[in-house]
Amino acid sequence: MVDLRVLAAACLLPVFPLSALFNQLVEQVRHPAARALAVLGLPEAGAALLEGLPRHTLVRGVVHSPAVVALVLFTSLLYALRALSVREVTLWARLVATSGLSLDWLLVGTGAPARSVELFALAWSVPAALLMVWAGLFSARLGGAYLGLRGGLAARLPRLSWLVALSALALVATPLFPSFFGLLHVVDVLPLSQLWAVLGVLFLWAWATGRFLGHLLFGTPGAGPVADLPVVPASLGVVVLAGLVVLGVLWSGRWTGI
């Protein structure tokens, strides 16, 4: 039967229906910094668990079966769909991250080295963690990280809005960010008959991001002065994102064999 460790890994590196557990775990953490760490750490723990398992279980066993592949793709589509109507930043980040992280199982099923599995997970969890941090900053200033109420945040909090926008783009496989190359590899690995699912995921991500950014950027600004993020933390955020890009470009070489 299915190894307990595989099940545990499925909780941490989310696959439906155990992905609910992952989401609940992250939800329970209140403090934004701690939540960011949870988003970063839990998938890595899941990947580490998988690393410890013998090869054959992973490659020819449960993980490689078509049912599991279908389940993984279903998870990804489901969470992408749920993210469409969400306006709260942490919830959105969590759902889209789940959607992306579940695709990691496809790599596991094809016998990729453990290091690659971990890095793949990072490609989604780092932007998600960043978004958690930015959401915390929003809450501190506006009382909550719910977008679209009194929009026009781009005018009132330009630096923070920039960071949120870039992080959101990093999360949904925008080129040059590592998630893009990760998705590219998934496309490479999947048979043609199942490609439509990944395209569907990409389409949903794009739609969700469009709506998300729309709520973030446009609208008539509300009243009252709000303090924007100071320059130093903002630059720090930019450095992290830039680092992501560099990592992505370097890493892509390894995937595509350049």
């Binding site: 306006r87 709260e88 919830l91 809450s139 009382g143 909550g144 990280a145 719910y146 109420l149 009243a223």
Partner: protein, 1052 residues
């Protein structure tokens, strides 16, 4: 519909729509842009009341923000004393009776120092008790029983029964029906009202807006997918009135609210509604006659679409489908309804938003009841804390123990204080406005030159030239520079020079009214070329005609590039890179215009008859050429005459021509029929043409009247110089839908030159001069009236009809033109500085003139000139008051001499036409400045022309009314200072009041304070009297009370 309306009910609906639509200002097509007051429908009420109502109707601002007023105050534009007086008056009237709180000081600090847009924002749960708790650092408590009652009150406020139904559903369920309805209605309007911009038109437009729309809507997939209900609603052949009544009844709206609901429905798209309103009331508007539409149709379309979408939302989201269901929903679960309105209205606390959304999505009432209780507590706490913080900060600014006093106040006292502060915030904008105007009046009055008693107000020597300019503010700098150059005397008169006429330009098919929009001209003036050669046309002109015509054809994209593309390409490149040079080149190719004359005299019966005959002959010749391919030289005059008689029904039988050509009887009969139907050679048409020709021109008496009135009212009755220039004005810009807004408002948004030419033609006639002599106005033999045109974008003055100048004047012509050119260049230099065109342009007057010309010809320029921005003053009096005074191009200058006007007839004319036009222009600028996105039309960059009569923002939106951002704002700050027109009148007070009393419209404008009237009384030592709050106050000594009440009471 299952409701058959009786005739009475049908008429009642029409009347209701008519009355409801009155606050919506009419929207004139932008081809002749008319500056008008956006709140014209509310002008019967005093200004502050009308602004309050208008801003709530149109969801707009009526005054600038507090911060903007504070900026003006820092720049010294606000009269502190006037502001303090108003605050004092308010504090005395609204004393909250709170011990230790000096309301005047608090309000002064709030108005002048506080960096807040709003001290007391609207709050649901805030009251004295909550505030007291928050000030002491405790959480406010909302008792259970009280909560229910307050919930109902809040919901009543947020979901008023006379709001359109879809607004209420959207507020509760976030269904977005409002924008969807707007989009579908806008599409319907664009399709129906198109005036030749699109190539394919909606079929069946002649039957009216609603029938045509319904036919198309039945087949519109977009509507059909919104639900099966649409099929049923659109299937029946009902009148628009029946549809309106039926749907309002279906929606469950009680009849006493129909009027208010209709008004709120129409104001959603007030641009389009305003256009429909204009169209249905415009006499002789071509498109309205062909494709009739009125507001009842518009409302019917809107309501049908709304009903379809409401039913669909009811099915999909389980939202209520009529007012009863909605009321039941709200009554059954007020807490849930409150949460819904919070979430979808955007007022929810951000930290709770996700929880509220999830609770509502689960559709379990128990869950959101619990949540509501906790949420209300949190909201009450948030509101109280915010308000307490704001009050504390204000108290600190007030200083001197105010914070401690605030801390000690009890709940009831806090309630009263809050009430007073809220009431003040509603009035603060008006107080600042009055204070700014007070400063403006002081500025003007200090600079005006009061004449010494006994000194003559006009020059004693004979000036080199006299010039009449339009009252437009842009004439002021030119007049100033011209007078500074030498012996020039200038006068100001409305740009149509008192001659209300409809103008038929040579080559133009329809007539154009050239007079203020409030007048309807009765006479027609036609322009005919001096040498009539109808067949010649430069080749380039024909080509450009073709290329522009091609733009509208379907085949254009495929053909134009090959055939005319290169030519067009030249145009595009030339226009962009070398604006001035290209246009010069183009004008040269066009071969210039032939010299023309204006027909200002009435035709005699014989003349009229010959003209009709000549037109008919020309038509017959055309018909022969096109229908029967018979060339002009193959037909004799007699044959043409015979054909004419046959067509008019005066003769019978085969014509000589038919016999010669061998035409069969049937063919000839067909030809005659074509002559009658297509070429209009028939008896009734001839009679109509004769009648129209009867409108042509003015009788001698009328001509004398016009000239005499113009000369007497402005005071030019003696000491005429050699040249009397009559200068109209126009603006030049490319690719500018607002071009007409920059033209002459007094000439109905067109060029004033034809009026000038007509006036000069009349004034130069010997018969007219003879009659003027009898009236006491002696015009010397060597005086010649010359028409001219001032192009306000380049400040060039071009004289017209110079071919009619007597030869001895030619000697002086060069000096005159040089003077005008020099004055124009100096004027351009002054203006160019404000446009910020760079230091190169400011180096010299020549450079400035060159820069101005480029600006005018640049098709990418969003601001060719500032136009009427910064208009502020209207001065009715002699030029001696303002000669040499630099008014910065902000004043409408009307020349008026009260000594020639004992019974005030001329003052009546001035107050009821030019001053009203000035008021319209001023208020258009005012409202578009204080709210550029609701009253104004937003940024020009996003504008798209709609149907050739208006602009929309983006792809599809409401028709934008008002002026664009670029005309009024510079670098994000208002360039135009929004204040009401300050009308300074140099005349005895009793005369002014008597005249105002006689004119109901002017009376309501003056006493409603839509314009600020300042009277300089020459019979009282030029005392400055300002009308404020119904009293006449001496401006420089406000504490005295000069005007006896009886005079003022009679005048009210």
């Amino acid at each position: 519909m299952d409701r058959d309306l009786s005739l009475g009910e049908r008429l009642k609906i029409r009347a209701m729509v008519y009355v409801a639509s009155e606050p919506i200002a009419r929207f004139w097509p932008m081809r002749t842009f008319i500056h008008h007051n956006p709140l014209f429908g509310l002008e019967h009420r005093p200004f502050p009341e009308a602004v309050a109502e208008g801003t709530s109707l149109f969801h707009a601002r009526g005054y600038l923000t507090r911060q903007q007023y504070q900026e003006y105050r820092r720049a010294g534009r606000v009269d502190d004393e006037a502001l303090a007086r108003r605050i004092g008056a308010f504090a005395a009237a609204h004393d909250p009776g709170v011990p230790g709180v000096d309301l005047e000081r608090w309000l002064w600090c709030l108005a002048v120092d506080a960096d807040l847009a709003q001290l007391c924002p609207p709050a649901d749960w805030l009251d004295g008790a909550a505030l007291a708790a928050a000030l002491r650092g405790r959480r406010p408590e909302v008792a259970e029983e009280e909560r229910h009652a307050r919930l109902l009150a809040i919901l009543e406020r947020r979901l008023p029964p006379d709001a359109p139904f879809h607004e209420r559903v959207d507020a509760l369920f976030g269904t977005g029906i409002g924008p969807a309805v707007d989009e579908l209605v806008i599409k319907a309007c664009l399709d129906f009202f198109d005036e030749g911009q699109s190539v394919w038109g909606v079929p069946g437009r002649e039957r009216g807006f609603f029938p045509a729309w319904r036919d198309v809507a039945r087949r519109d997939l977009r509507l059909l997918i919104h639900g099966r209900a649409s099929g049923r609603l659109l299937a029946e052949e009902a009148d628009p009135e029946a549809v309106v009544a039926s749907i309002l009844a279906d929606l469950g709206i009680p009849e006493e609210h129909w009027q208010a609901t209709i008004l709120r429905e129409l104001t959603h798209l007030h641009g389009w509604a305003g256009f429909v309103r204009f169209r249905q009331q415009a006499p002789g508007y071509y498109w309205a006659a062909r494709f009739p539409a009125d507001l009842v149709d518009f409302l019917a379309v809107r309501l049908v679409v709304e009903r379809i979408l409401v039913l669909e939302a009811a099915r999909r989201h389980r939202s209520p489908a009529d007012a009863q269901a909605l009321a039941e929903l709200v009554a059954a679960d007020p807490a849930g309804a409150y949460l819904r309105t919070e979430l979808h209205g955007g007022t929810v606390l951000p930290g709770w938003a996700q929880r509220v959304e999830q609770a509502l999505a689960r559709r379990r009432p128990a869950a959101w009841q619990r949540l509501a209780a906790r949420y209300i507590e949190a909201k009450a706490h948030h509101e109280a804390a915010e308000q307490a913080g704001a009050l504390r900060r204000l108290a600190e600014q007030v200083g001197g123990g105010a914070p401690t006093v605030l801390q000690e106040l009890g709940p009831h006292e806090l309630d009263r204080l809050l009430g007073a502060l809220r009431a003040w915030e509603r009035e603060e904008g008006y107080a600042f406005l009055v204070a700014m105007e007070s400063r403006a009046i002081t500025d003007l009055v200090r600079r005006v030159r009061v004449p010494e008693p006994g000194t003559p107000t006009r020059p004693t020597r004979r000036p080199f030239a006299q010039a009449f300019f339009c009252i437009d503010v842009r004439s002021e700098p030119l007049r100033r520079h011209l007078e500074a150059l030498g012996d020039y005397e200038t006068f100001g008169i409305a740009g149509f020079f008192g001659v209300p006429m409809a103008f038929l330009e040579y080559g133009n098919g329809s007539e154009q009214p050239l007079c203020p929009a409030i007048m309807t001209p009765k006479n027609l003036v036609a322009e005919i070329p001096a040498g009539l050669r109808l067949e010649e046309e430069p080749l380039f002109g024909a080509l450009s005609e073709v290329s522009h015509g091609l733009k509208q054809s379907v085949m254009a994209p495929f053909v134009a590039v090959e055939a005319v593309g290169l030519l067009f390409g030249l145009g595009l490149v030339g226009r962009t890179l070398w604006p001035v040079g290209y246009h010069r080149l183009r004008d040269r190719f066009h071969g210039g215009e032939p010299p023309t004359r204006l027909l200002v005299d009435k035709l005699s019966a014989d003349q009229a008859d010959s003209i009709v005959r000549a037109v008919q002959r020309a038509m017959i010749v055309q018909a022969l050429a096109r229908e029967l391919r018979v060339a002009r030289d193959q037909v004799t005059d007699d044959e043409v005459r015979e054909l004419r008689e046959i067509a008019l029904g005066n003769a019978e039988g085969p014509s000589a021509l038919a016999t010669r050509l061998g035409l069969s009887e049937a063919a000839e009969a067909r030809f005659v029929e074509t002559l009658r139907s297509v070429y209009r050679v028939e008896r009734r048409e001839a009679a109509r043409q004769l009648e129209r020709l009867g409108r042509l021109g003015f009788s001698l008496e009328e001509q004398v009247q016009f000239v005499a009135r113009a000369l007497t009212s402005t005071g030019l009755t003696s000491n005429f110089s050699r040249f009397v220039l009559i200068v109209g004005h126009e603006s030049l810009s490319r690719n500018n839908p607002y071009e007409s807004a920059l033209d002459c408002g007094a000439a109905g948004g067109a060029h004033g030159l034809p009026n000038a030419r007509a006036f000069c033609a009349m004034a130069n006639k010997p018969e007219v001069r003879l009659r003027l002599r009898e009236l006491g106005i002696v015009v010397p033999e060597d005086t010649w009236f010359v028409p001219g045109s001032h192009t306000t974008t380049t400040d060039e003055v071009t004289l017209a009809d110079l071919d009619q100048l007597p030869s001895r004047h030619l000697l002086y012509l060069e000096r005159l033109q040089a003077g005008l050119a020099a004055a124009g260049r100096r004027c351009a230099a002054e203006r160019v500085r404000t446009l910020g065109l760079g230091s190169r342009a400011e180096r010299s007057p020549q450079a400035a003139a060159q820069a101005a010309r480029r600006q005018a010809n640049d098709w990418s320029q969003v601001r060719p000139e500032w136009g009427l921005s910064r208009n502020l003053y209207g001065i009715v009096g002699g030029r001696h008051l303002t000669e040499g005074v630099d008014l910065g191009g902000r004043a409408f200058l009307l020349s008026y001499d009260h000594r020639f006007d004992p019974d005030g007839r001329f003052l009546e004319n001035l107050l009821s036409a030019p001053v009203v036009v000035g008021e319209w222009i001023n208020l258009e600028h005012y409202f578009s400045t204080v709210d550029p996105h609701r009253f104004g039309s937003g940024s020009k960059v996003y504008h798209n022309v709609a149907g050739r009569f208006g602009v929309m923002t983006g792809n599809q939106s409401d028709l934008r009314t008002g002026l664009p951002l670029q005309t009024l704002y510079k670098d994000r700050r208002p360039y135009h200072e929004p204040m009401r027109l300050v009308a300074l009148v140099e005349a005895p007070v009793r005369l002014v009041l008597a005249v105002v009393q006689r004119l109901p419209k002017v009376r309501s404008l003056v006493f409603g304070e839509w314009i600020r009237v300042v009277v300089l009384d020459p019979e009282d030592g030029y005392r400055v009297l300002v009308l404020e709050d119904g009293r006449l106050v001496d401006h420089l000594d406000p504490t005295s009370e000069p005007c006896t009440p009886t005079v003022l009471e009679e005048a009210r």
